[in-house]
C-alpha cells in the first residue's frame, strides 16, 4: 500500500514539474512576444509620420537649424523626435539682440515627438540634457539626439497660424491626431 502511495506521489510530482516548465515556457514566450511587439511599436513610433518630409532643416556644429523658407511657404509644421532615453531640452538661439526676446524653448520627453508650428525664416536650437552641475544642463549633439521632418504645405486656418509648440510630447500617431484635432491639415 505504502509503495503504491509512493509511486502515485512520484508520478504527481513529475506531472507538476512538467506543468510548471510548460507554464514558464509559455510565459517566457508571451513575454518575448510582448517585448517584440513593444520593439515593433517603438520602431513604428520612431518612423517619420506619413507625408512628413526629410527637409527644411540641417545640423551644424551640434546645433539644429530649421529653415522653413526652403520650400517657400509662410507656415510650416516641424515634427521633432527625441531619440534619447532621457528628456531633451531645446534652447532657441537668437541671432542678435532681438526685440522679441521671445524664446520658443521646449522640452521633449524621451522617445517622443513634439510639433512646432512656425513662420520664422531661420530658427536655431541648442540641445541639452539634465546635468546636476548646471541649471542649463549639458549640451549634446542635436544630430545624435533628434529626428526631424517637415510638413511644408500645411493647410492652416486664419485662427491657428503662428509660432508655437503645438504638441508638447506624444507618440507619432498621437502627435498627428493632436495636429488634426487642432484644425490643421498636415500634408
Amino acid at each position: 500500500m505504502n509503495k503504491k502511495i509512493m509511486n502515485l506521489s512520484f508520478v504527481t510530482l513529475i506531472m507538476v514539474l512538467l506543468m510548471q516548465s510548460t507554464v514558464s515556457t509559455a510565459s517566457q514566450k508571451s513575454e518575448e512576444k510582448l517585448k517584440k511587439a513593444e520593439d515593433k511599436q517603438q520602431k513604428a513610433d520612431e518612423k517619420r509620420p506619413l507625408g512628413c518630409r526629410d527637409l527644411g532643416y540641417r545640423f551644424q556644429l551640434k546645433i539644429l537649424e530649421l529653415q522653413p523658407e526652403e520650400v517657400g511657404e509662410k507656415q510650416s509644421l516641424y515634427f521633432i523626435f527625441n531619440s534619447r532615453s532621457e528628456p531633451l531640452k531645446l534652447y532657441q538661439m537668437l541671432k542678435d539682440k532681438s526685440s522679441r526676446s521671445m524664446y520658443l524653448n521646449h522640452e521633449i520627453k524621451p522617445r517622443q515627438w513634439a510639433v512646432l508650428s512656425t513662420s520664422e525664416t531661420d530658427l536655431k536650437y541648442i540641445c541639452s540634457i539634465a546635468d546636476a552641475k548646471s541649471n542649463y544642463g549639458k549640451i549634446v549633439d542635436c544630430e545624435q539626439s533628434l529626428k526631424v521632418c517637415e510638413y511644408a504645405r500645411v493647410k492652416y486656418g486664419l485662427n491657428n497660424k503662428g509660432n508655437y509648440w503645438l504638441v508638447k510630447s506624444n507618440t507619432s500617431g498621437g502627435a498627428v491626431n493632436e495636429v488634426l484635432h487642432y484644425g490643421i491639415i498636415p500634408r
Binding site: D96, K97, S98, S99, R100, S101, M102, Y103, L104, N105, S119, E120, L158, N159, N160, K161, G162, N163, Y164, W165
Partner: protein, 280 residues
C-alpha cells in the same frame, strides 16, 4: 489608529494654513515696495482710487503701476511712485522704450511683468498697460490649467465693445470681452473690469477697458486682404517667474530710469521688472 487620527486632526489646521499661503495671489505692485523710488501705503476704510488720487492722470499711473483698477478695500496695500506729479507713463514702463527695428507693429504681452507694450514699426514704445493673463488653475476646473498659450501670433479678428465669449461661462458663454482682438483660436486681448493684479483669466489676456479700446480702435489691424492676411503681431512671452516676491537682498542693485522728465532716453537703462533682470 486613534493616535494617527488625532495627529492628522492636530496637523490639519497647519496644513490648511500653509496651503492657503501658497494659494494666495501675489500682487505685482507690492514687489516694488523695496525700491527707493516707490512707497507703499495701506488703504483705510472708505478710501477709493478717486479719493486717494483725484487727478485722473496720476490715478491712471498708480493703477498701471499696481496692475489693477479694481475697487480698493481697507487693508489693501498699494505702491505709489514718490515723484508722482512729475513722472510719465514711460518713466514707469516695464518695457524698453526702444527696441530693434522690426519693420512692423507689434504687441508684447509679458506675463512676468503683467503688462502689454505696443511698439511701432520703428521699434518705439507707443503705449503700455497692465494685463491679467491665464491663471495656473482654472477657477471652474474646465481644464487642468488655464495658462495663456505662449508664442508669436497675429490678430486675425477684432470686435467692438459688445464682444462676448462663446465659451465662458462654460456651457452657456456670454462673458463680456469688450474690444476683443483674437490672436489664436479663441484667445484674445480684451478689456475687462476685473484686473486684479495677478494672473486670473481663463486664458485670454485681460486689460484695462480704456487700453483695449485704444488698441482696438487705433492700433491693432486684423488680418485682411489689404495686409496680405498679416494682422498685427502679438508676442506672448512665457512665464518664467514663480510669482513669489523677492527680498531686497535677493533683488540686489536696481537700475532704474525713474527720474523726472526722462522719457524716451537711454533705452538700455530701463526699469527692470523681472527678477532675472533685477538681479544684476
Amino acid at each position: 489608529m486613534n493616535k494617527i487620527i488625532i495627529i492628522i486632526a492636530f496637523c490639519f489646521p497647519f496644513i490648511a494654513t500653509s496651503a492657503n499661503l501658497d494659494d494666495r495671489p501675489v500682487y505685482y505692485g507690492l514687489g516694488l515696495c523695496d525700491y527707493p523710488q516707490y512707497e507703499c501705503m495701506k488703504v483705510t476704510g472708505g478710501q477709493t482710487w478717486e479719493k486717494l488720487f483725484p487727478d485722473e492722470g496720476q490715478r491712471d499711473l498708480v493703477q498701471r503701476v499696481n496692475r489693477t483698477y479694481n475697487n480698493l478695500w481697507a487693508g489693501k496695500e498699494i505702491v505709489v511712485p514718490k515723484d508722482l506729479a512729475h513722472v510719465t507713463i514711460f518713466d514707469l514702463s516695464p518695457f524698453p522704450l526702444q527696441i530693434a527695428d522690426e519693420n512692423q507693429k507689434q504687441i508684447i504681452v509679458d506675463q512676468d511683468k503683467l503688462a502689454w507694450g505696443a511698439y511701432d514699426q520703428h521699434g518705439n514704445l507707443v503705449k503700455w498697460g497692465p494685463i491679467s493673463s491665464g491663471s495656473d488653475r482654472c477657477s471652474d476646473n474646465s481644464s487642468p490649467t488655464c495658462r495663456t498659450m505662449t508664442g508669436i501670433f497675429q490678430v486675425f479678428s477684432k470686435e467692438n465693445e459688445r464682444c462676448k465669449s462663446n465659451i465662458f461661462p462654460v456651457g452657456k458663454g456670454g462673458a463680456k470681452m469688450p474690444y476683443c482682438m483674437y490672436f489664436h483660436k479663441g484667445l484674445a486681448l480684451h478689456g475687462s473690469p476685473d484686473i486684479p493684479g495677478y494672473r486670473a483669466s481663463h486664458g485670454c489676456v485681460r486689460m484695462f477697458v480704456r487700453d483695449a479700446k485704444w488698441l482696438n480702435e487705433q492700433w491693432v489691424e486684423a488680418s485682411n486682404a489689404s495686409n496680405n492676411f498679416m494682422g498685427t503681431k502679438v508676442i506672448v512671452r512665457p512665464i518664467t517667474y514663480s510669482g513669489k516676491p523677492l527680498t531686497k537682498a535677493q533683488l540686489g542693485e536696481v537700475k532704474t530710469h525713474l527720474k523726472p522728465k526722462t522719457a524716451w532716453v537711454n533705452p538700455d537703462n530701463n526699469f527692470p521688472a523681472t527678477p532675472s533682470e533685477r538681479i544684476q
